[in-house]
């Protein structure tokens, strides 16, 4: 599983607050970073929940 962030992501940071093991704010590029290229199996349920929690549906799951 991979996570992609749409370019329209508003960088509000809800994902980092709730799932700091998956996302981190990137101050240099003014964006959010996904911390894994491939989401580890033990974090995949959290990744799905992160996609559901996003304010603007900017987190996409790519299987």
């Amino acid at each position: 599983m991979k996570l992609e962030l749409a370019d329209y992501c508003i960088r509000c940071g809800i994902c980092e607050d709730l799932y700091p093991d998956l996302f981190r704010r990137n101050y240099q590029e003014h964006c959010m970073d996904v911390l894994y290229d491939e989401i580890p199996e033990q974090l995949q349920d959290r990744a799905r929940q992160a996609a559901a929690d996003c304010a603007v549906a900017a987190i996409r799951i790519v299987d």
Binding site: G13, I14, D17, H30, D53, A55, A57
Partner: protein, 516 residues
């Protein structure tokens, strides 16, 4: 250097800039939006779950006008208030119908009730309490305005509006000798200069919460606790890295725009860490700190003196403004003893909690504090003695002991000579109870308000109160013109920002068409 030609350029894509672009697009005017940030939204994307709209009836408009005019102590532009309120009546159609945002709860209010709410008990503070209140359904854990503005962006792009993200405007081009505005200078991400040629420019660049040096220089921030105002401290709860640096203010002032007062929008905060779950999102609370610190119990400043009737504890405007104007270091301290902690564990005071938390009980305050303290929070403490609390928090002990003696006496006789606070909220502070608790509360908020002043057409004013031709402004930066100068109001500012954005859009459209 790249050149972009358009009828109207808009600086900023928050709620005000997007509102302006919406009107311009509908008027058939060519519009380009320049945004410093990589995405639209501005301060509003981190805030509102609701908005207030004044219905377009004579009774509602008149009542709302009177509330705002009085609230501003008549320092607002009263003709602008009248227009902004009229535009606020358009919000439900735009947000609910055109942007398809659901409002599961709508509170319709009688015009005679406007301005009577004390705090956030129904969702809006008294300064903004001038109409019906719409509570919106956001997606996931987000608040709805993030989604609303994203949908508005997509809608506007379909209508031909050009968006230039990561392209901040830094200078306004104005003809010499007080002439009209004809363009602006922006910069692309790689540093390439962009010359914008336009017939009108709308500045809707928000506040300056990302620029602490500028806030200090302008006297907006005066506190030794400035670290708490940085990203993640969540005293300023615009999201981190917001890029709101005051570029709009500086550009307007540079070409002769009048300087208005600036204040942090009023929402008192106990800083992170350990108060919110993370550094970004103000509504994801890690504990009950916000609920505790809105209870109407003793609060003092660093001198140990009371500074307000504590019945105003949930009135964000009153508390925060009073902290800013009257207290050292923009700070106050809520102090209570073990008996009051036990009292809160039975339930918080009716009306002193955001309506969705009515009836809540505050459990294990000491444990909540210890957890936050363990995460590095130095803005709360609990000790056996008042002396220890004063030493830790930097409160004048003599002053506090004198205040507590008078406060406890007021509790005993049921009469508060100083503020006439309702006796049922005067809870004595006694070391004999076993423990003393204290929170440091700073004057925080969602954004800075004010700094640029406009007339009733959203035209930017010069030092002589004359409109600068071709230059308009809207949103948080012009709130002095609708809430009073310097502005004092609480919380998110959709009610002010979107109407002034809509007004600026209509006015600029009329101007470029030669109708003004």
């Amino acid at each position: 250097m790249e050149v972009i030609k358009t009828d109207v350029a808009v600086m900023g894509s928050g709620v005000a800039g997007m509102g302006a672009a919406y009107k311009l697009a509908n008027a058939g005017v060519k519009v380009a939006v320049f945004e410093k940030y990589p995405a639209q939204g501005g301060a509003v994307s981190n805030c509102p779950m609701s908005f207030c709209s004044t219905p377009d009836t004579p009774e509602a408009q008149k009542s709302a006008y009177e509330v705002w005019a009085k609230f501003s102590n008549y320092t607002a532009n009263l003709a602008l208030i009248s227009k902004a309120l009229k535009y606020s009546s358009e919000l439900p159609d735009l947000i609910l119908n055109k942007l398809k945002i659901k409002a599961p709860v709508v509170i319709h209010r009688e015009p005679s009730e406007y301005g009577t709410q004390r705090g956030y008990t129904m969702g809006h503070a008294n300064g903004l309490d001038v109409g019906d209140i719409y509570f919106l359904e956001g997606r996931g854990q987000g608040h709805a305005f993030a989604l609303a503005l994203l949908r508005l962006r997509f809608l506007l792009e379909k209508q031909g509006v050009q968006f230039y993200f990561s392209t901040p405007i830094k200078k306004i081009i104005r003809e010499p000798n007080g002439g009209k505005v004809t363009g602006a200078i922006a910069y692309q991400k790689d540093g390439t200069q962009v010359r914008i040629e336009c017939k009108a420019l709308i500045v809707a660049a928000g506040g300056m919460t990302n620029n602490i040096p500028l806030m200090k220089e302008l006297g907006v921030l005066r506190t030794k606790y400035e670290d708490a105002y940085k990203d993640g401290g969540q005293v300023l709860i615009t999201f981190p890295d917001s890029c709101q640096d005051g570029d709009g203010h500086l550009a307007v002032w540079e070409i002769g725009g009048k300087r208005g007062g600036i204040a942090i929008s009023a929402d008192p905060q106990v800083p992170n860490p350990g108060v919110r779950v993370g550094p970004n999102t103000p509504w994801l609370a890690a504990n009950q700190t916000k609920i505790i610190t809105e209870q109407p119990y003793l609060r003092v400043n660093e001198l140990g003196r009371r500074f307000i009737n504590e019945e105003m504890a949930n009135n964000h405007t009153a508390i925060s403004t009073s902290i800013i104007r009257n207290n050292p270091n923009m700070a106050c301290y809520m102090i209570f003893d073990e008996d009051t902690a036990r009292h809160m564990s039975q339930g918080v005071e009716d009306g002193y909690v955001y309506f969705i938390f009515q009836g809540v009980k505050v459990e294990n305050i000491r444990g909540q504090m210890d957890e936050a303290i363990a995460k590095g929070n130095r803005h709360m403490c609990h000790f056996d003695t008042i002396h220890e609390v004063c030493e830790y928090m930097g409160i004048d002990e003599d002053g506090l002991r004198d205040t507590i003696a008078k406060y406890n006496h007021a509790a005993e006789i049921g009469y508060d000579e100083q503020f006439k606070t309702n006796p049922k909220y005067i809870r004595p502070v006694r070391e004999e109870s076993g423990h003393i608790y204290c929170y440091r509360i700073l004057a925080g908020g969602y954004d800075t308000m004010g700094g640029v002043l406009i007339d009733e057409n959203a035209n930017v004013l010069d030092e002589d109160n004359r409109p600068i031709e071709g230059l308009y402004a809207a949103g948080d930066m012009v709130t002095g013109s609708i809430y009073g100068d310097p502005p004092a109001n609480a919380g998110g500012n959709v009610h002010g920002s979107m109407p002034t954005g809509l007004l600026a859009g209509d006015s600029a459209a009329a101007y470029v068409k030669g109708a003004i």
